[in-house]
């Protein structure tokens, strides 16, 4: 039986299955977006709860995951607005940073870069962080991210570009010694 149908038919069983099939992955994503476990679990819980209670509103057009992320992002946004300080809204302008793409082959081992990338993404402002989690952890496409975050595709692309610049800057700052960013690849 389709999971959705199972939830509709037998809410308890369906909910357990939802947790089994989607819970861990959603939790992982929430953890990466929120940055702390307590919130992540709370958001996971509330996302799944809302999903089950509003399962009849799931259009089955997108994948269930996409819909869950949409709920998750809405919850995070709502909370962030309350807190205001940490609003999940993109900054108007890009922080001042150049497009420095470290030449990883020479300067970084893959492992070092992986660590640096994870750290850099963790340290990004929340909206950029969510964007990159969807992009690189969930491997979602631009339209999917746009749908989840309720943003136009063009904005997603622009912010994605900015987020990449931020991460590249952080990588080169944290890992590369000052002035050794010799790998300005691909810049015309």
């Amino acid at each position: 039986m389709e999971l959705i149908d199972e939830i509709l038919a037998d809410r308890a069983t369906g909910t357990r299955r939802l947790v089994v099939e989607y819970g861990v992955r959603l939790h992982e994503a929430a953890l990466r977006i929120c940055g702390n476990a307590t919130d992540a679990e709370d958001y996971t819980f509330r996302t799944l709860e809302r999903a089950v209670c509003q399962i009849h509103r799931f259009g089955r057009k997108s994948s269930l995951f996409t819909w869950l992320y949409e709920i998750l992002i809405n919850l995070v946004r709502t909370d962030a607005r309350r807190k205001a300080a940490n609003a999940l809204v993109f900054q108007a302008t890009l922080p001042d940073c150049e497009d420095e793409r470290p030449n990883v082959n020479e300067a970084l081992s893959a492992k070092d870069e992986a660590i640096a990338v994870r750290k850099a993404i963790r340290e990004l402002p929340p909206p950029y962080r969510a964007l990159l989690v969807f992009r690189y952890y969930e491997d979602l496409t631009v339209p999917e991210i746009a749908s989840i975050m309720s943003l136009p595709e063009g904005t997603v692309k622009r912010k994605l570009h900015e987020a990449k610049l931020l991460v590249r800057a952080k990588i080169s700052r944290t890992v590369m010694p000052e002035g050794s960013s010799n790998g300005r690849e691909g810049q015309s």
């Binding site: 089994v20 099939e21 861990v24 660590i115 994870r118 993404i121 691909g186």
Partner: protein
């Protein structure tokens, strides 16, 4: 496209969702612009690296949800209080906190219980220092600010082993999933594998009897429903589960690592169990062969028990590539969206062992799948792999050794067959279904390829194989059947719209139609041995070494609506007891492109071939042991396109009806030769055939030619009709030269009917010592010039007197000397063509 546009497309390009036109323009730009090409390469590489970085499961261990998570969620959704989440949480928290206190008290006082509780060090790369900082921060806030829900007493199916771990420690240092420590009252503990861990036996059946928060060592659920045995290193060697009907047994907690040769057994607690599931809530890593075993016998129903891996990310990662070997005694199900991502399954060998199913069911999404399935001893079981839309698969099926796969089961009731499905999946070229071993017998099985316009790849048979099932090939699908020498396909049914290629020395016979397909036979034998077996609207190509056998037990009419091409080295064979009647569709050419068509009638009758358009090229051969009748309904047309094409058999032309008067046309191209090595005759029942020779090439009659009842006679419009042996032209039937030549081979003597020379003239060519006699032709109206080459006295004769040709006709005749000089001729009193002067002198 300029550089700016190209760079703007990079995200779409990474998503692989550029339309064809845009992609082409981008590709074009990238081939021209070095900067952009580097930019794209760098972006692509970075994308891959970052994706790997974010999905590095070693560096970022997974963070399981707390064991009571599902219970809490169910309670919440059942309460259905969606209006006010905050109040809901507050309501929910209080009783659980109370429970926690109760539980804590129980643990402190419950010295009788023993369990191993080890602090989980599941922390990220930040290290413990950061975790400690966070812990302190959290402790500072007290825990009244949304503390994570503690486990209810009923949710804790174990008690700490106070002997091995100080009972106070867990309270203070309980890690949560991401390495942060929660408040001191938290009982939500995860465990790590510990080598020295003592066996932890659950003393009482926990309230949530279906869940075992595995501790990393030997563990048994209270009523023995799940037992986990580990070696001294905490590596799992055996999991036994006894689910009852419909029950789900969950093992939460740490990721399991299974030792090489480990077993997972599902045994019914009592009777049979349906829909029982063993669920691993976390990654499972196999260090080698892992056996999934059902121990209670019959396993008849698809919807039966399942072993479910929630997150199998590491399932095959342990030893890299092909090292892992899964023996699946039981249904092994990977549920929808199980978190399988690209290249996570390529590395296993899956072996369903008996009477069971390996169900990789309902995979959807962008998964690449190239695992190998190895069936052995599945005499009563079957393998089912269903892949839905969006799955990219290059999965292989490998049937090893000498096992027999005579499966008769399929899950759906409509077909009692095993099936391979690749419906609508995104194509990957080169899918291989490989049947290895010395001998293979397929019972009823169906292999279905439904994808359109793809190169389906190969079904390979490494040894002798008989196959009584179906291979259905979707429209536009190309499929190769590769087999070693002496493979035999007994009688599979081919249907659908695809192309099937038979290569190597495979033998294929099939009983039913295949339509709209291309069948190519190379070094293979394809046998069509039942009425109606000729594929319709197909292209059948018999290539070098191939044999297309269309023999049938009894002669009956066969309508051929397919395009058959027999190439050099290929052979098409028709053996029939009573002769075969083939009706090739009108205007559909039968192409003997250097190949051989052999028609043998074993019952003494003839082969009727309504073969209106025959195209033969260099080296083509038509062989028959009985008369081979080529009917011409209206437009019989033979074309010989090369030198050395041979019709080697008694060939007879007949008209289909008295009104069909257009006759057969043999077109022998310039420099080509068609040899009738046996009798060329007509059918006396159809006296209205015109026989026309066209093309600049030569027809050679090496045997008797019977143009007796030809109404107008033989017309040679171009090229040469050569009488290769004496008496090869019987019954004095008329001959019309209208641009062509009649030739007599060296040292032959032939008698031809009355000669007409039409508008385009004609030629008589005489070999050394050749003689030609025509019937009295004086009644024929000549309108063209007749040239006689190789003329000598007493070699060409008309009738028996000097009046066999009229003066007007004689005026049109010239003998051409070898030096090109032409002389006028007249008839001698005995009708021989002779010099005019000689006649005069005689008179």
């Amino acid at each position: 496209m300029n550089c700016e546009e190209a760079k703007r497309l990079v995200e779409d390009a990474l998503d692989k969702r550029l339309s064809g036109g845009v992609k082409r323009r981008l590709d074009l730009h990238l081939t021209r612009c070095r900067d952009c090409r580097r930019f794209y390469e760098a972006e692509q590489a970075e994308h891959s690296r970052w994706f790997r970085a974010m999905n590095d499961t070693e560096a970022e261990p997974s963070h399981p949800l707390p064991p009571d998570f599902a219970d809490r969620l169910v309670a919440a959704v059942m309460a259905n209080d969606t209006a006010d989440k905050a109040s809901f949480f507050r309501r929910l928290r209080l009783p659980r906190w109370l429970k926690r206190v109760a539980c804590f008290a129980l643990i402190l006082s419950g010295a009788a219980f023993a369990a191993a509780v080890v602090v989980d060090a599941v922390v990220g790369n930040d290290g413990e220092g950061e975790a400690t900082e966070r812990t302190q921060a959290r402790e500072g806030t007290g825990g009244d600010d949304a503390p994570a829900a503690p486990a209810a007493m009923s949710d804790i199916p174990y008690v700490p082993d106070v002997a091995s771990v100080p009972s106070t420690e867990p309270d203070n240092q309980q890690p949560t999933t991401d390495g942060q420590l929660k408040g001191e009252n938290e009982m939500n503990i995860k465990h790590r594998a510990a080598a020295a861990l003592a066996a932890a036996t659950l003393a009482a059946s926990p309230a949530s009897a279906t869940e075992l928060p595995w501790t990393g060592g030997d563990a048994t659920l209270g009523d023995g429903k799940v037992t986990i045995l580990c070696d001294e290193n905490g590596i799992v060697t055996n999991v036994t589960a006894k689910p009852t009907g419909g029950e789900e047994l969950r093992i939460t907690g740490d990721a399991m690592t299974f030792a090489d040769g480990a077993k997972i057994s599902l045994a019914a607690e009592s009777g049979t169990f349906a829909d029982g599931r063993l669920v691993f809530a976390n990654d499972v890593t196999a260090q080698g062969a892992l056996t999934l075993n059902r121990t209670d016998g019959a396993f008849p129903i698809w919807s039966g028990n399942r072993l479910v891996g929630v997150n199998w990310v590491n399932a095959f990662a342990a030893n890299g590539s092909q090292a892992n070997d899964w023996s699946v005694h039981s249904a092994y199900a990977i549920p929808t969206d199980a978190g399988i991502s690209e290249n996570e399954l390529p590395h296993g060998i899956y072996r369903p062992i008996s009477a069971n199913i390996l169900a990789c069911n309902r995979w959807s999404g962008k998964y690449t799948f190239s695992a190998r399935f190895q069936l052995q001893n599945v005499s009563t079981g079957y393998l089912q792999v269903r892949m839905l839309t969006g799955v990219r698969t290059s999965a292989g099926l490998y049937l090893p050794n000498t096992d027999t796969w005579s499966t008769t089961k399929y899950r759906t009731s409509t077909a009692s067959d095993a099936q391979w499905f690749w419906p609508n999946a995104t194509p990957v070229d080169g899918v291989t279904l490989q049947y290895g071993g010395d001998e293979y017998k397929f019972g009823i099985c169906r292999i279905i390829f439904q994808r359109k316009n793809t190169n389906m790849g190969t079904i390979g048979f490494a040894g002798e194989a008989t196959m009584a099932g179906t291979v259905s090939v979707g429209q536009g699908v190309r499929m190769s059947v590769m087999a070693k020498a002496d493979s035999t396909f007994a009688a599979p049914e081919f249907s659908g719209y695809g192309d099937v290629e038979y290569a190597r020395n495979s033998t294929l016979s099939y009983t039913n139609r295949m339509v709209h397909s291309t069948i190519s036979v190379t070094n293979a034998t394809v046998t069509l041995n039942t009425l109606g077996a000729i594929p319709n609207y197909c292209t059948v190509v018999v290539d070098n070494g191939g044999l297309l056998d269309v023999s049938r037990a009894s002669g009956s009419t066969l309508d051929v609506k397919t395009d058959i091409e027999v190439r050099t080295g290929g052979r098409m064979l028709s053996n029939a007891s009573y002769g075969t009647t083939w009706k090739f569709a009108r205007k559909l050419p039968f192409k003997l492109l250097g190949g051989t068509l052999e028609c043998n009638s074993n019952g003494g009758s003839v082969n009727y071939v309504y073969l209106n358009r025959l195209l033969m090229t260099d080296g083509a051969m038509l062989k028959c042991n009985k008369p081979f009748w080529v009917a011409n309904d209206s437009e019989g047309y033979w074309t010989v396109g090369g030198t050395g094409a041979i019709v080697n058999g008694p060939v007879e032309f007949l008209s289909a009806s008295a009104s069909a008067i257009r006759g057969a046309v043999v077109n022998v191209n310039d420099d080509a030769t068609l040899v009738f090595a046996n009798t060329l005759a007509y059918n006396s029942g159809y006296p209205h055939v015109d026989f026309i020779k066209q093309g600049g090439g030569t027809v050679v009659c090496q045997s008797t030619c019977h143009p007796t009842a030809i109404a107008k006679g033989m017309t040679v419009q171009n090229g040469t009709w050569k009488l290769g042996v004496s008496n090869s032209w019987l019954n004095e039937r008329p001959l019309i030269l209208d641009g062509g030549a009649i030739a007599g081979a060296d040292n032959t003597a032939n008698a031809v009917g009355a000669l007409t020379v039409a508008e385009n003239g004609g030629t008589i060519e005489l070999g050394e010592g050749a003689a030609l006699t025509f019937a009295d032709s004086s009644a024929k109206a000549w309108s063209g010039e007749l040239i006689v080459k190789g003329w000598h006295e007493n070699t060409v004769r008309f009738g028996t007197s000097s009046t066999a040709l009229t003066e007007e006709q004689l005026a049109m005749i010239r003998a051409e000397k070898p030096n090109g000089k032409r002389i006028r001729l007249c008839l001698s009193p005995l009708g021989y063509l002779t010099r005019r002067g000689m006649i005069i002198s005689i008179r």
